[in-house]
Subunit: 212 residues, 2 copies
DNA sequence: AGTTGTTTTATACATTTGTTTGAGACAAAC
DNA sequence: GTTTGTCTCAAACAAATGTATAAAACAACT
């Protein structure tokens, strides 16, 4: 059982594939691209992972695990706090993990699946996205004092998520001066902004329909 | 100069291409896909548009024009109103145009460019996105009484846009019960929610930094 | 040293895809 | 009816791409 050289190229393939899949999406990345980046032979992907999709599935699985890690970290950070404070901390952790370069691949992959679903979508949703949405739904339902199934709750959750994701660097934002250096201070600033904006929004939506 | 049959297949190509490019993105759509959908020969694209990119550029140009139409409509709808009311109406028009099936191709294309830029990106940003962002920036700057160049303004603009876009149907949202029938009533509901949420958010952000 | 199981490599194959070409179809002008 | 300019079509080409294969390299164990 060789564990030095085998896992080396296998790992290099995974690393390279994660980067490339996140940056360009499943379809637009070539097996040859991955192998070149991983300094491996063209046949390496098929040998180690069966086929291109097999490799993608493994990449996605590790992304899901990372996502769970973020979920847990945020939950812990907010333990014992008020719902509003929990939401605030969730956003902070979230922003840092999503927007720190190098850690961003996870959410880039989610973004890719949102626009171009692959057979790996189901696992991602069930194991990664749903738990997150359900936690956030609980928080927001508590804040506006309604059932977690209330239509407004999901809309608020989506609103929070969408705001954060919109800070992922993209060529349109870059051209509009929406760029920033991902320093801890700047990320804190973003997190604070999103939290402020969102919490006020949530309260407003809660009030609005009560008043109806 | 024949204008009956020529423009017929040319138009069919444009129509089919718009749909397909919006749904799958430039790279993932095949010239053969487009031609099949338009009931045209494989060579038709190259004959009428030079190459695949030429066709895409024309599709993008008509998308930009549609975008300008939306901008103008929203501007008119808000003429003479308060900044807050202008924002409210902008969101309403925006939501209706973006989320009415069939009219959604424009923003799907923008979304595509955001994730997978093509050489048509510059035109899109300068002629379509920038005017919109600048109008919204003006509104929000007025609401929170600061310079339109203030960092918070752009963040709010992005927040509003991101929320709306997040209602575009996508497979992840679908699996999470975030689906809705795009009836006028439902779209009104969404617009109201986003407006309520965002305006409260904008005010909060305006207050927060004043208090620093 | 020899055997065995695993990994790497070069090469090949079948599809797919954007594009080209040359012949034909068509309609209007003469 | 012939010519002319424009469009359509079937076929072909070259490049790219996912995958397969068979030989070689390698490491561990006897």
């Amino acid at each position: 059982m060789t564990t030095s050289r085998d896992t080396e190229t296998r790992d290099r393939l995974l690393k390279a594939a994660e980067r490339l899949f996140a940056d360009r999406g499943f379809k637009k990345v070539t097996v040859r691209d991955i192998c070149r980046a991983a300094r491996a032979n063209v046949a390496a992907v098929n040998y180690h992972f069966g086929d291109k999709l097999g490799l993608y599935r493994e990449v996605m699985q590790s992304a899901i695990d990372a996502m769970r890690g973020t979920n847990d970290a945020a939950r812990e950070a907010g333990a014992g706090q008020s719902a509003e404070e929990q939401l605030r901390r969730y956003i902070a952790i979230f922003v840092h993990r999503v927007l720190t370069p190098g850690n961003d691949t996870v959410h880039k992959l989610i973004n890719r699946e949102m626009n171009d679903p692959t057979p790996a979508l189901d696992t991602l949703v069930e194991q990664g996205v749903r738990p997150r949405v359900e936690y956030l739904s609980g928080l927001i339902a508590e804040i506006i004092e309604c059932a977690p199934t209330d239509q407004r709750v999901l809309r608020c959750v989506a609103g929070v998520q969408a705001q954060i994701i919109s800070y992922l660097p993209n060529p349109i934002a870059a051209r509009l001066g929406f760029a920033y250096k991902p320093t801890p201070a700047n990320l804190d600033g973003i997190a604070e902004h999103v939290a402020e904006f969102s919490i006020a929004g949530v309260h407003a939506v809660g009030r609005a329909v009560h008043a109806r």
